[in-house]
Amino acid sequence: MFDEKEIVSKILRGDFRAFELLVGQYQKLVFFVVNRLVHHLQDKEDICQEVFIKVHLALPKFQFQSKLSTWIARIAYLTTVDHLKKSKTELLVDYPESIDNYHFTDDSPELELMKKDTAAYVNKLIEKMPLQYRTVLTLYHLNEFTCPEIEQITGIPEGTVKSHLFRARRILKEKIEHDLKN
């Protein structure tokens, strides 16, 4: 059984074995967030590493006012967004006017080839979506956070989180239905 409070107090006493346990417990959560927001494979592990080092350095300030997982996810999200801003390799605001007008453009040959494996195809479609959609879909469906928790992590108001979620799911469903019929 993973006891958050005990692990945190051990880490604060300088126990590196406890820190390794914490990393093992939350590395999937952090990787899911980073993986969806960053496209370059070699950046992903560096960012995950940076996230956990930040977690260790900021741990004395953690007061258990939120779940540890929510707090770590927030650090992961902010570190990734910061990386995107610095690297400028990926657009942070894909649809600055209104992402509600987002729609999928024509399929690339790569996407055409992936249609047989629906799960991989869905993942590829998500990669093409605006950052806000990718974030809420990942945090809600893969990391299983609630909408209020997603608000805590990203700072996006709960109502907007819900509307992004519904809209993202709807356009994904319509795209998949359309493609599988053709």
Partner: protein, 149 residues
Amino acid sequence: MEELSDEQIQSLLENGLNTTKEPLSAIEQEQMDSYFSLFQKLKTEPADTLPFNFAAEVTRQLKLRLKYRSDLKFSLFSALGIIIGLIAAYGLLSLVKIDAGEQFLTAMLKLKWLLLTGVVILSGTLVFDLKIVQENPYNNAAGMDEAKN
């Protein structure tokens, strides 16, 4: 065609397919099935993963960074100690005998290049250490490939 409302979609996600009280039309049922299938796909974990030794590697990196911080603190305090020591020595010598203080200052000025070289070497070593600590010790892409195999 009647679209499912956001609330209905959310209820489908939270309660599964067979919990609606009212009977669904064929179109609604088809939409329910599509959404249910989509929710399953959205739960699929990514193919890429972190290397199996990721936790150990992060801990190693963390220890290096903490060691660097402690070395940096030690170096700064040492430098500060030396400067304060030299000023104190000059002050004490000046109090005892003004000429002795002046001689001490002259000697220090003669050694200024040696002192400056020492400071440059110390700073250079610290910057070099920081660079090594911040660089990833192995190729990440290779690490991920290793984890997949």
